[in-house]
Assembly symmetry: none
Homo-oligomer: 140 residues x 2
Amino acid sequence: MRRRIEIKLIDDNSKRHTTFTKRRKGLMKKAEEFCRKSDSTAMLLIFSSSKNCYGFGHPEIDYVLDRYEADSSSAEAGTSAAGAVTEMETRIGDAVESGRWEEAVRGLGFDAFDQLTAELENIRRQVAALQTKFAAEGWR
Amino acid sequence: MRRRIEIKLIDDNSKRHTTFTKRRKGLMKKAEEFCRKSDSTAMLLIFSSSKNCYGFGHPEIDYVLDRYEADSSSAEAGTSAAGAVTEMETRIGDAVESGRWEEAVRGLGFDAFDQLTAELENIRRQVAALQTKFAAEGWR
DNA sequence: ATGGCTATTTATAACTC
DNA sequence: TGAGTTATAAATAGCCA
Protein backbone atom coordinates (compact mmCIF):
# COMPACT_ATOMS: atom_id res chain seq x y z
CA MET A 1 0.00 0.00 0.00
CA ARG A 2 2.81 2.30 0.73
CA ARG A 3 6.29 2.10 -0.68
CA ARG A 4 9.46 3.77 0.33
CA ILE A 5 9.03 7.38 -0.62
CA GLU A 6 11.56 9.47 -2.38
CA ILE A 7 12.44 12.79 -0.82
CA LYS A 8 11.86 15.24 -3.61
CA LEU A 9 9.49 18.04 -4.47
CA ILE A 10 5.90 16.89 -4.81
CA ASP A 11 4.51 18.24 -8.03
CA ASP A 12 0.82 17.72 -7.40
CA ASN A 13 -0.53 20.77 -5.58
CA SER A 14 -3.06 18.93 -3.53
CA LYS A 15 -0.69 16.22 -2.39
CA ARG A 16 2.01 18.74 -1.68
CA HIS A 17 -0.28 20.68 0.59
CA THR A 18 -1.41 17.56 2.38
CA THR A 19 2.19 16.60 3.01
CA PHE A 20 2.99 20.15 4.04
CA THR A 21 0.30 20.10 6.69
CA LYS A 22 1.05 16.64 8.01
CA ARG A 23 4.79 17.06 8.15
CA ARG A 24 4.53 20.53 9.58
CA LYS A 25 2.58 19.16 12.49
CA GLY A 26 5.01 16.30 12.91
CA LEU A 27 7.97 18.63 12.84
CA MET A 28 6.41 20.97 15.38
CA LYS A 29 5.69 18.06 17.68
CA LYS A 30 9.22 16.72 17.37
CA ALA A 31 10.70 20.11 18.12
CA GLU A 32 8.54 20.40 21.20
CA GLU A 33 9.43 16.94 22.46
CA PHE A 34 13.08 17.59 21.75
CA CYS A 35 13.04 20.69 23.94
CA ARG A 36 11.06 19.05 26.68
CA LYS A 37 13.29 16.01 26.91
CA SER A 38 16.68 17.64 26.57
CA ASP A 39 15.83 21.10 27.89
CA SER A 40 17.35 22.65 24.81
CA THR A 41 17.22 26.13 23.46
CA ALA A 42 15.72 25.86 20.02
CA MET A 43 13.32 27.37 17.55
CA LEU A 44 11.52 26.45 14.40
CA LEU A 45 10.02 28.83 11.86
CA ILE A 46 7.95 27.83 8.86
CA PHE A 47 6.35 29.93 6.14
CA SER A 48 3.72 28.41 3.95
CA SER A 49 3.54 29.36 0.31
CA SER A 50 0.52 31.46 1.22
CA LYS A 51 2.67 33.47 3.65
CA ASN A 52 1.40 31.98 6.85
CA CYS A 53 3.92 31.75 9.58
CA TYR A 54 4.16 28.86 12.00
CA GLY A 55 6.66 28.96 14.77
CA PHE A 56 7.90 27.31 17.88
CA GLY A 57 10.59 28.34 20.31
CA HIS A 58 11.92 27.31 23.66
CA PRO A 59 12.03 29.15 25.90
CA GLU A 60 10.80 31.62 23.28
CA ILE A 61 11.46 32.33 19.66
CA ASP A 62 12.90 35.74 20.37
CA TYR A 63 15.19 34.41 23.03
CA VAL A 64 16.69 31.93 20.59
CA LEU A 65 16.94 34.61 17.94
CA ASP A 66 18.80 36.90 20.28
CA ARG A 67 21.36 34.22 20.90
CA TYR A 68 21.68 33.52 17.22
CA GLU A 69 22.18 37.16 16.46
CA ALA A 70 24.65 37.56 19.26
CA ASP A 71 26.49 34.59 17.81
CA SER A 72 26.51 35.74 14.24
CA SER A 73 26.40 39.43 15.07
CA SER A 74 23.49 39.89 12.70
CA ALA A 75 20.70 42.40 12.64
CA GLU A 76 17.93 43.18 15.09
CA ALA A 77 15.35 40.80 16.43
CA GLY A 78 11.68 40.98 15.63
CA THR A 79 9.51 41.98 18.53
CA SER A 80 6.34 40.03 18.41
CA ALA A 81 6.25 36.29 18.81
CA ALA A 82 5.41 33.97 15.97
CA GLY A 83 2.54 31.70 15.15
CA ALA A 84 0.82 28.45 15.63
CA VAL A 85 2.00 26.20 18.39
CA THR A 86 -1.17 25.09 20.02
CA GLU A 87 -3.94 23.09 18.52
CA MET A 88 -6.11 26.16 18.51
CA GLU A 89 -3.60 28.23 16.67
CA THR A 90 -2.99 25.41 14.25
CA ARG A 91 -6.71 25.09 13.54
CA ILE A 92 -6.99 28.75 12.80
CA GLY A 93 -3.85 28.59 10.74
CA ASP A 94 -5.21 25.74 8.70
CA ALA A 95 -8.42 27.59 8.02
CA VAL A 96 -6.50 30.60 6.87
CA GLU A 97 -4.18 28.31 4.97
CA SER A 98 -6.93 26.98 2.74
CA GLY A 99 -6.82 30.31 0.96
CA ARG A 100 -10.46 30.85 0.18
CA TRP A 101 -11.57 33.08 3.00
CA GLU A 102 -12.19 36.24 1.08
CA GLU A 103 -13.93 34.36 -1.70
CA ALA A 104 -16.26 32.50 0.60
CA VAL A 105 -16.94 35.55 2.68
CA ARG A 106 -18.20 37.51 -0.27
CA GLY A 107 -21.21 35.25 -0.41
CA LEU A 108 -22.33 36.28 3.04
CA GLY A 109 -24.91 38.90 3.71
CA PHE A 110 -24.28 41.87 5.93
CA ASP A 111 -26.09 40.29 8.84
CA ALA A 112 -24.13 37.09 8.59
CA PHE A 113 -21.05 39.19 8.95
CA ASP A 114 -22.29 40.70 12.17
CA GLN A 115 -22.96 37.25 13.43
CA LEU A 116 -19.51 35.99 12.54
CA THR A 117 -17.81 39.00 14.02
CA ALA A 118 -19.76 38.54 17.22
CA GLU A 119 -18.81 34.89 17.30
CA LEU A 120 -15.14 35.64 16.95
CA GLU A 121 -15.33 38.25 19.65
CA ASN A 122 -17.04 35.73 21.86
CA ILE A 123 -14.29 33.20 21.32
CA ARG A 124 -11.69 35.84 22.06
CA ARG A 125 -13.42 36.51 25.35
CA GLN A 126 -13.49 32.85 26.19
CA VAL A 127 -9.77 32.57 25.60
CA ALA A 128 -9.16 35.57 27.81
CA ALA A 129 -11.32 34.01 30.49
CA LEU A 130 -9.36 30.78 30.35
CA GLN A 131 -6.17 32.75 30.68
CA THR A 132 -7.46 34.33 33.85
CA LYS A 133 -8.75 31.04 35.16
CA PHE A 134 -5.55 29.11 34.59
CA ALA A 135 -3.48 31.92 35.95
CA ALA A 136 -5.55 31.76 39.13
CA GLU A 137 -4.95 28.03 39.32
CA GLY A 138 -1.24 28.56 39.06
CA TRP A 139 -0.83 26.95 35.65
CA ARG A 140 -0.64 23.49 37.07
CA MET B 1 12.92 -3.82 25.76
CA ARG B 2 11.42 -0.50 25.25
CA ARG B 3 8.22 0.88 26.61
CA ARG B 4 6.27 3.94 25.73
CA ILE B 5 8.40 6.86 26.80
CA GLU B 6 7.15 9.86 28.66
CA ILE B 7 8.01 13.25 27.23
CA LYS B 8 9.68 14.97 30.12
CA LEU B 9 13.05 16.27 31.08
CA ILE B 10 15.68 13.53 31.31
CA ASP B 11 17.50 13.90 34.59
CA ASP B 12 20.53 11.75 33.89
CA ASN B 13 23.15 13.90 32.20
CA SER B 14 24.56 11.20 30.03
CA LYS B 15 21.22 9.94 28.81
CA ARG B 16 20.00 13.46 28.24
CA HIS B 17 22.95 14.21 26.02
CA THR B 18 22.52 11.00 24.09
CA THR B 19 18.90 11.84 23.45
CA PHE B 20 19.86 15.41 22.59
CA THR B 21 22.23 14.18 19.92
CA LYS B 22 19.96 11.54 18.47
CA ARG B 23 16.89 13.72 18.36
CA ARG B 24 18.79 16.72 17.10
CA LYS B 25 19.89 14.71 14.10
CA GLY B 26 16.38 13.39 13.57
CA LEU B 27 14.91 16.86 13.78
CA MET B 28 17.40 18.27 11.28
CA LYS B 29 16.66 15.47 8.89
CA LYS B 30 12.92 15.99 9.20
CA ALA B 31 13.26 19.70 8.60
CA GLU B 32 15.32 19.07 5.51
CA GLU B 33 12.90 16.52 4.11
CA PHE B 34 10.01 18.81 4.90
CA CYS B 35 11.54 21.59 2.85
CA ARG B 36 12.53 19.34 0.00
CA LYS B 37 9.13 17.76 -0.33
CA SER B 38 6.92 20.80 0.11
CA ASP B 39 9.33 23.48 -1.07
CA SER B 40 8.74 25.45 2.10
CA THR B 41 10.57 28.34 3.62
CA ALA B 42 11.71 27.22 7.02
CA MET B 43 14.48 27.27 9.53
CA LEU B 44 15.59 25.43 12.62
CA LEU B 45 18.02 26.67 15.24
CA ILE B 46 19.34 24.66 18.15
CA PHE B 47 21.73 25.60 20.91
CA SER B 48 23.33 22.91 22.97
CA SER B 49 23.94 23.51 26.66
CA SER B 50 27.59 23.92 25.75
CA LYS B 51 26.69 26.83 23.50
CA ASN B 52 27.09 24.99 20.26
CA CYS B 53 24.78 26.16 17.55
CA TYR B 54 23.18 23.86 15.03
CA GLY B 55 21.07 25.32 12.30
CA PHE B 56 19.24 24.59 9.14
CA GLY B 57 17.39 26.90 6.81
CA HIS B 58 15.79 26.82 3.41
CA PRO B 59 16.65 28.60 1.30
CA GLU B 60 18.83 30.04 4.06
CA ILE B 61 18.51 30.84 7.72
CA ASP B 62 18.89 34.56 7.20
CA TYR B 63 16.32 34.63 4.45
CA VAL B 64 13.74 33.07 6.76
CA LEU B 65 14.71 35.43 9.56
CA ASP B 66 14.25 38.43 7.32
CA ARG B 67 10.74 37.33 6.50
CA TYR B 68 9.98 36.75 10.14
CA GLU B 69 11.15 40.20 11.04
CA ALA B 70 9.27 41.78 8.18
CA ASP B 71 6.15 39.97 9.34
CA SER B 72 6.60 41.10 12.90
CA SER B 73 7.06 44.75 12.07
CA SER B 74 4.14 44.96 9.66
CA ALA B 75 1.71 42.63 11.31
CA GLU B 76 -1.11 44.88 10.20
CA ALA B 77 -1.29 44.02 6.54
CA GLY B 78 -4.72 42.50 6.66
CA THR B 79 -4.30 41.18 3.17
CA SER B 80 -3.07 37.85 4.38
CA ALA B 81 -6.63 37.06 5.35
CA ALA B 82 -7.83 33.93 3.67
CA GLY B 83 -9.77 30.77 4.27
CA ALA B 84 -13.45 30.03 4.05
CA VAL B 85 -15.45 31.65 6.78
CA THR B 86 -17.76 28.73 7.01
CA GLU B 87 -14.82 26.43 7.39
CA MET B 88 -13.35 28.77 9.94
CA GLU B 89 -16.54 28.82 11.94
CA THR B 90 -16.77 25.06 11.76
CA ARG B 91 -13.23 24.50 12.86
CA ILE B 92 -13.36 26.94 15.70
CA GLY B 93 -16.78 25.72 16.68
CA ASP B 94 -15.62 22.12 16.71
CA ALA B 95 -12.61 22.93 18.79
CA VAL B 96 -14.71 24.76 21.32
CA GLU B 97 -17.44 22.15 21.40
CA SER B 98 -15.24 19.11 21.62
CA GLY B 99 -13.78 20.52 24.80
CA ARG B 100 -10.34 19.83 23.44
CA TRP B 101 -9.78 23.52 23.41
CA GLU B 102 -9.43 23.95 27.12
CA GLU B 103 -7.07 21.00 27.19
CA ALA B 104 -4.86 22.32 24.46
CA VAL B 105 -4.90 25.79 25.83
CA ARG B 106 -3.90 24.76 29.31
CA GLY B 107 -0.42 23.98 28.04
CA LEU B 108 0.12 27.59 27.12
CA GLY B 109 2.02 30.06 29.19
CA PHE B 110 0.55 33.42 30.07
CA ASP B 111 2.40 35.19 27.29
CA ALA B 112 1.28 32.68 24.70
CA PHE B 113 -2.25 33.49 25.73
CA ASP B 114 -1.72 37.12 24.96
CA GLN B 115 -0.44 36.09 21.60
CA LEU B 116 -3.41 33.87 20.86
CA THR B 117 -5.86 36.51 22.01
CA ALA B 118 -4.18 39.04 19.79
CA GLU B 119 -4.37 36.65 16.88
CA LEU B 120 -8.09 36.14 17.36
CA GLU B 121 -8.66 39.84 17.65
CA ASN B 122 -6.70 40.35 14.47
CA ILE B 123 -8.89 37.86 12.63
CA ARG B 124 -12.01 39.54 13.95
CA ARG B 125 -10.73 42.87 12.67
CA GLN B 126 -10.01 41.41 9.27
CA VAL B 127 -13.51 40.03 9.03
CA ALA B 128 -14.96 43.37 10.01
CA ALA B 129 -12.82 45.07 7.39
CA LEU B 130 -14.09 42.74 4.70
CA GLN B 131 -17.62 43.46 5.75
CA THR B 132 -17.05 47.15 5.28
CA LYS B 133 -15.27 46.64 2.01
CA PHE B 134 -17.91 44.43 0.47
CA ALA B 135 -20.68 46.66 1.72
CA ALA B 136 -19.02 49.56 -0.06
CA GLU B 137 -18.84 47.50 -3.21
CA GLY B 138 -22.52 46.76 -3.01
CA TRP B 139 -22.11 43.02 -2.43
CA ARG B 140 -21.74 42.34 -6.11
C1' DA C 1 31.33 9.79 25.14
C1' DT C 2 30.51 6.91 19.91
C1' DG C 3 28.66 3.86 17.08
C1' DG C 4 25.71 0.05 15.96
C1' DC C 5 21.54 -3.04 16.95
C1' DT C 6 16.86 -4.28 17.65
C1' DA C 7 12.24 -4.04 19.71
C1' DT C 8 8.79 -0.80 19.62
C1' DT C 9 6.79 3.38 19.22
C1' DT C 10 5.81 7.07 15.87
C1' DA C 11 5.14 9.32 11.71
C1' DT C 12 2.88 9.34 7.52
C1' DA C 13 1.59 8.15 2.21
C1' DA C 14 -2.05 6.23 0.21
C1' DC C 15 -6.65 5.26 0.57
C1' DT C 16 -11.53 5.61 2.02
C1' DC C 17 -15.86 8.02 3.18
C1' DT D 1 -12.76 18.02 -0.17
C1' DG D 2 -11.50 17.41 4.44
C1' DA D 3 -11.26 14.22 7.93
C1' DG D 4 -10.27 9.66 9.49
C1' DT D 5 -8.06 4.83 8.79
C1' DT D 6 -4.39 1.60 7.75
C1' DA D 7 -0.44 -0.43 6.20
C1' DT D 8 4.45 0.61 6.09
C1' DA D 9 8.44 3.28 6.57
C1' DA D 10 11.14 5.81 9.83
C1' DA D 11 12.69 7.30 14.36
C1' DT D 12 14.54 6.09 18.60
C1' DA D 13 15.12 4.15 23.93
C1' DG D 14 17.59 0.82 25.94
C1' DC D 15 21.69 -2.06 25.41
C1' DC D 16 26.12 -3.54 24.45
C1' DA D 17 30.91 -3.51 22.22
